[in-house]
């Protein structure tokens, strides 16, 4: 067994593709996503103003909306059509319309109507400017009577209670800054690494068949199977094991950057993170071997693995929740390691729920890890008859 282990490490070191896929790409992706979203929340999203009233009130409201965190007044437009055109040209993501004679109608109690238009074509930007513009409009409507109330002698608490009788206290658990960085990176980075694990596992198995056909085998000139003394299960296990160790180390490196350097919240603690990492890596590898066993052609198996891996990003349920998908998809989502990974992360690491709550997901991941047991014979058959189709 030691010989096989050493042989595998030798293979990993010789071919640069392993280094690139196992170490360089995960680190690149980590750096990419965390630097892309380092702001946390997008700020100063450009919006437009269509001011048909041009009074001090509307200018005050414009300054107010500009001062808000998420929005920035990029330009003023003379007509609504031009503002809409600017959205189509991607110069702004929304605009506020102050109708003509708004202030004088307001003072005369004719109830004018101001409106804000927001485009959800980019959903993140759309929701953020919606929130800010709605707050401004609510404050504008409410603030009109504020001067009168102050003159009447109401205290600030009373004014607050009149303007907003029911206030909401939002407790964003785990991510109080509402940082998209924290929220998304935990799906994107492990998802990419699990995808790479699928591909590398399938690739490393397929390449054995390819090399055997070409007789480009190891320096001892012994075949892979002969070294394992005919025990194919052991052969696969010792092939996968060094990769497991490398991937776990890469994950630790990535997590020390995310948790240690960037201080992403992880109240769950170190041991749970280690458990989740190990489960993630072995379930992804197990699934990769299983796919290769089902379709012993490297090319097809890699295609299916990449399909599965890329679908995992959607099936993790972060952006669009799984419970909102159609029923067959909800069932299929159980076959994706990423889904369980994210669920365990959300419940046990971001929040501190007990592991018993996610026992079934742990069990699912272990089942995925042990799936190769079903297909060992098939891989052995493919290897012995070296059915590689170029």
């Amino acid at each position: 067994m030691r010989e096989l282990f050493v042989r595998e490490i030798h293979i990993l070191l010789i071919h640069p593709i392993y280094l690139i896929c196992m170490v360089v790409m995960p680190l690149f992706v980590t750096f990419f996503f965390t630097s892309l979203m380092e702001e946390g929340v997008p700020t100063d999203i450009p919006i437009g103003i269509v001011d048909l009233d041009q009074t001090t009130t509307t200018r005050k409201l414009t300054r107010m909306v500009d001062a808000f965190q998420s929005t920035k007044v990029a330009a003023h437009y003379p007509t609504m059509a031009e503002a809409r055109h600017a959205i189509q040209k991607n110069e702004i993501y929304g605009f506020i319309l102050f109708p003509k004679d708004m202030t004088s109608d307001m003072l005369a109690f004719r109830q004018p109507k101001m409106s804000f238009y927001y485009s959800s074509t980019s959903m993140t930007a759309g929701s953020l400017i919606y929130k800010d513009m709605k707050t401004v409009c609510t404050l504008a409507a409410a603030g009109v009577g504020q001067g009168v109330m102050q003159a009447k002698g109401m205290t600030p608490e009373q004014i607050k209670a009149t303007l907003q009788p029911i206030a909401l206290d939002t407790h964003l658990i785990g991510n109080p800054w509402a940082s998209y960085n924290i929220y998304l990176c935990f799906m994107l980075i492990p998802g990419t690494i699990l995808l790479l694990i699928f591909l590398v596992t399938v690739y490393s198995l397929g390449i054995e068949i390819k090399f055997r056909m070409r007789r480009e085998n190891d320096r001892d000139n012994k075949g892979w199977l002969e070294m394992a003394h005919g025990d194919f299960g052991m052969a696969i296990f010792t092939k996968i094991l060094p990769q497991t160790i490398v991937f776990i180390c890469v994950f630790i490196l990535v997590y020390s950057y995310l948790f240690g350097w960037l201080h992403f919240p992880h109240p769950g603690g170190f041991w749970r993170i280690m458990l989740l990492t190990t489960l993630g890596v072995i379930s992804a590898q197990g699934f990769g071997v299983f796919i290769f066993g089902l379709i012993p052609s490297m090319r097809m198996a890699m295609s299916v693995s990449s399909l599965w891996g890329v679908l995992s990003f959607s099936m993790a349920g972060t952006a669009f929740p799984i419970f909102a998908m159609d029923a067959p998809l909800q069932s299929i989502s159980w076959m994706f390691p990423m889904r369980h990974y994210y669920l365990i992360y959300q419940l046990c690491i971001l929040n501190t729920y007990p592991l018993t709550d996610v026992l079934i997901d742990i069990f699912a991941m272990l089942s995925l890890a042990f799936l190769p047991l079903l297909v060992i014979k098939r891989i052995e058959h493919a290897f012995v008859n070296y059915e590689y189709e170029p």
Binding site: F32, S35, M114, Y130, T138, L168, Y203, L311, F323, D326
Partner: protein, 376 residues
Amino acid sequence: MKTLNAIFDAWLDELKMIVKDEGVMLFFLFLPIGYPLIYSWIYNNEVAREVPVVLIDNSHSAKSREFAQKYDASPDVCIAYRSGNMAEAKSLIGRGEAFGIIYIPHDFDKSLGRHTQAHISVYCDMSYMLAYKAIYQTATAVSSEMGSTDVAPLLFEEVPIFNVTGGYGNFIIPGVVILIIQQALLLGVGMIAGTRREKLRYGRALRDQEWKISGMIGHSLAYLMLFSVMLAWITLIVPRIFGFVSLVHGPTLFHFLVPYLLACIFFAITVSSFVRYRESVMLIVVFTSLPMLFLCGLSWPLSNISGFWQGISYAFPSTFGVRGFVRMSSMGAELADVEHEYLGLWIQTIIYFLISCTIYQLRGRFFYKNQDSTTK
């Protein structure tokens, strides 16, 4: 005439090669046809409805019951459980039966009656974005509706434009499908290039014109032919099947997608020249899909992407393609509105065309030199 014959031969050759290779067929046919269907199916429901929430009502008053009733009435959330304490509510969330907690304190009614500000707490985890949005926005809407005074001096109206349903599928699918075309081309062309390289290593002879520019044009025509059909499927038929917003005009779409497809083809030929083994291309291309999607400015607003990454994104046709197409399809933009992207695509087409020609010339020279040396 001879050139035209050469181009035709290369075109036919390439088509034969594509059809015989099942891996490439997978990428050229199944990927553009099947993936948009799969993704559209996943996001078909567009919004999250009736998100289960736990309600803790410590006030037991008419006002708190009114709040609960209005909250439950909203289509986005549903009060699945009523609990007496936080611990029980938390364990419900732990078991995955609910996604948030609404907590009404005991002095809710009293505060309202006393004309001081009453508070309602919303406990929610941002890990499932649409669930969080549903819970939080409904609470905001109900609380402001309940708290509104009889006569408001100023009314306001919120108008969502372009993505009127606020649907998730509407937002992401147009971008994803255009990116799929680029990735399918990269994968397929990369595989073919890898196969050719491996055949060379085995010493199998290749036809003369494969390494000349006429060969390259012939190959490009083959890809152009196949992918025009795919693009038509993706941009015109798929949105109509799933009911996505599709405001495209035929001629505008055609004018925009021609440079996009050409840029993708030549980009794929350029990248494929760096491929040694067939399978390596899959590893690299699949992994870059998600970063490329983010660089398009769809999920993360363009205004907030740093200059450094924006600069790098200009190398990929998908950056301009996705941006332009989303604006045309979801917002009904005209060609003049996507002028920046349109020019960018043409510039990319020209640059990558020149690079591909250079590669084919160099390769051809290398190939012919080798062949001469072996025949001697």
